[in-house]
Amino acid sequence: MDNFFLWLGMGLFFLVLLCLYRGVFGPGVLNRVAAISAIGTKTLVILLIMGYIYQRVDMFVDISMVYALLNFIGTITVSKYLEMSGEI
């Protein structure tokens, strides 16, 4: 079961690198915001899988909950600012 979690974590990390392409080369700033939100969602699952590999789940659950909260608040803040300033 440990090997399965390890391969899953590495596969998700490869998907994060693929999303980073859209974050660097997206035409305009809104594409980059969408890519960062997607990277944050994948990071949440990678953190929980790392908790299972190290067998200290109760520590990593608190960290991933905080990361989900801050990802949500950050995306709403940036999109509100971009709506006011009129830049795509």
Binding site: C19, T41, L44, D62, A68, S79
Partner: protein
Amino acid sequence: MNIIQALSIPFLLGGFFFFLAATIGLLRFPDFYTRLHATGKGDTLAVLLSLIGLSVYEGFSFTAVKIVFIAVFMFLAQPTSTHAISRAAMRCGLKPWVKK
């Protein structure tokens, strides 16, 4: 590895499949609004399936209830942030893509 832990493997594999589909959509779709569809819907379902799979692996304990709380929060928060981004694009005048 007993039967309850073996039950979590289909959930995790389904979640990985939807993550893969959402990322391929984010890279290959032609317009901003279509890419937002891919990442907004695909990522939400993938996270829900993965978190349910991980909580089933844990069994009946306090940690599994906390993981279900994270899943409920993601179910409410991810579509809201997608809506906020698309509203910002609409207000700034980004036109949808038309197939010629």
